[in-house]
Subunit: 142 residues, 2 copies
């Protein structure tokens, strides 16, 4: 584990760094968010399960190499935090410009783990929701 | 919380009960696996995020009302268990018969939470993997 990496004092700090890395297409920043001591898991929308640092890194490298800047806003966060693990459920909204309105959400489950150097991302599972998804299905079904 | 519900001593026990409920299309057994004290989250493949007991229950009721018996086998389990939370990543393989060979996996992230009455399911996030997915992408990318 390298000591010069940033320390995330809370899972929210790690999450902010994760989405900031996406917006900046910054591979090194992205990978510094992930845990190094665990078998990390990443599932991109429609994609296979990627397990392990090398596979996760290679997929982000390909995504960022496209050169297309992405903006992402988050909504509908639900957190449950324990001593070692923190589970975040949220909606991601991607767009190519800050001026674009809300897009169909990507549903994400992010799990953070606390280690000697603070909180790191252990699992990112993302999947596209149907385009007619309301802001939160809870509102329509309850 | 009802006291007559089963007690799951480990997250693995709760997970076994979850998949057993799917195989038996048993709605009451299914819902007894879920936590009642947390805001539970369920994402079916290609579906929206369902939040809360009522929305999660209604979706399983619809799935089970189809009358089609499903068999499910699991593979590629990766667990990380803390004091309060346990995160399981795995591949689900569904089929209509015990005789059918392996099918394209559904990737699942299951999170269990420990409460007064043992471990319960808090999050089930499932998404279909591409049909050409190997048993584990780690093997092909490393």
């Amino acid at each position: 584990m390298s000591l010069h990496k940033p320390l995330y004092a809370t899972p929210q700090d790690a999450e902010a760094a994760f989405y900031d890395a996406i917006e900046h297409a910054d591979l090194e920043a992205m990978m510094s968010v992930w845990a190094e001591d665990e078998e990390i898991i990443c599932v991109h929308p429609g994609g296979p399960r990627l397990a392990g640092y090398a596979a996760v890194r290679e997929a982000w490298r390909r995504i960022f190499s496209g050169g297309q800047r992405l903006y992402v806003s988050l909504s509908q966060q639900i957190y449950l935090t324990g001593m070692l693990l923190s589970v975040h459920s949220l909606h991601e909204h991607f767009s190519l410009s800050r001026d674009v309105g809300p897009t169909a959400p990507v549903v994400a489950t992010n799990v953070y783990v606390r280690g000697a150097l603070g909180w790191r991302l252990m699992t990112h599972h993302a999947s596209a929701a149907p385009s007619d998804t309301q802001a939160d299905m809870k509102k329509t079904l309850h």
